[in-house]
Amino acid sequence: MVEMTSEERVLRVLQHQETDRVPHFEWLVDRRVREALCPDITDYNEFAVQMGQDAVIVDPIFKKERVSANRWLSEWGYVTQDTAEEHGIEVESPIKTIADFERYTPPDPHAPGRFAAVEDAVQKYAGYKAVIVHLNDVFSLPRYLMSMQELLMAIVTQPELVKALVEMSVTVNLELAKEVAARGAKIVYTGDDFAYNKGPLMSPRHFREFFYPGLCRVMRGYKELGLYTIKHTDGNLWPILDMIIDSGIDCLDPIDPVAGMDLGEVKAKYGHRIALKGNVDCAQLMTFGTPHEVVEATKEALRTGMPGGGFILSSSNSIHSAVKPENYLAMVQTVREFGRYS
């Protein structure tokens, strides 16, 4: 088969068509791994290109202002604290009650400059690399605005507040998506985590009542704008997986093996409906294992994921700071060598 561009390759996977080889990309490669492998490259997307990733990932820009040495107030009104990783963690949230919610105004999705990074990426990479824009669906924003613990409790104690927050998340993200589509990006990914290692963060009954309707609306809305969707969520998803697939996503990521998600099983059950992205274990194997073990795990993921197409190879979450650079490299080289369709 003729060599495809990265963009074609990723789009065809999302359309369930044949490709020349398995595409691969990561949501994040930590600065320390990047510096170890390409010390001269400072631009993140240039690193992705250098490593042969098939996509560049961009975010809408939301302002943040420093409130103390290591804390930042985001435009959304929550405060994050820096960690050793490249992303902070939310430590103060603005909404506790429905009265707080009624006083709350989310950032303007259409504010000037919001999509400067998207515009740059489309201009620089469209037609060459897949440009994927990071948005949200129904869980992360409510979680940031209330804190995880308060949000989970509110499912039981303040159901109307949770429903209102989900509704707001859907509305704001669809407005953001209009701007994304207007700028020529074709793919969005949402990174809202619904589960942890042992299972969903809430019962399937609560997921169906509180989050599933919004998930359907936001995924349908993305599709109506002509965008393809990759849904990322950590954890063991089995009890709610039918709902996630039924919401209309094009691709599921990352099928976390540590959380009991088996790529072959997900492929057998849903591979005819959606594409899959994953799932070389970055929690244990890429952190503590050897390059040889990573090569074997990557080959195994390719053997399982490749048949019939619809497969993107990646780590089981991200290349975080503790992943050994040589292990990331081993995965990349293996997909290049063994990820070709004959």
Partner: protein
Amino acid sequence: MNEKLSVLYNAILDGDVSGAKDGVQAALVADLEPGNILAEGMIDAMKEVGRRFEEGEYYVPEMLVAASAMQAALSLLKPCLVESDVKSAGRVAIGTVKGDLHDIGKNLVALMLEGAGFEIKDLGVDVSPEKFVEAIRGGDVDIVALSALLTTTMPNMKTTIDAIQQAGLRGKVKIIIGGAPVTRQYASEIGADAFASDASSAVSAACQLVV
């Protein structure tokens, strides 16, 4: 079960904060022994919460609201427990290890341990090895419970255990660890006494450690 205690028990299972407070008041007014109110009305209720969680009937939200009802009831009962000299099941210093700001797993474990009759000293998140050592030195600690959500912060569990060892305090406490990246094998490699994969199993492990 005494009717008043069963009202308290059910209020906790339902996560009904005011019902649980009323339940404790009613039980005290009826002159029930504080130790019995704790054991049958509250600890048994939280055991049932743990069972339902393990069976997949309860998820994290139900567990959190039950635990908050239990806490509200316990705060009313505490003075009476002290007065009647009811002993706790053990004293636990708990925290998320240095570099890690995630708290929900640690909070759940603390709540469930409290619901099992343990006394909790919550050291918070991003807790340095020195702070754990200090807490043990301060006395009144039987168990140290370490939490980490990230693969990158998990090594600080070892650092913490090493610091406790170097301070000559290892023999004074039992150590239990848990969190998303933690495995039983890792727990044994770094010399922890027990591993818990979730809040409910942390309670069983802690109970065994203090036997």
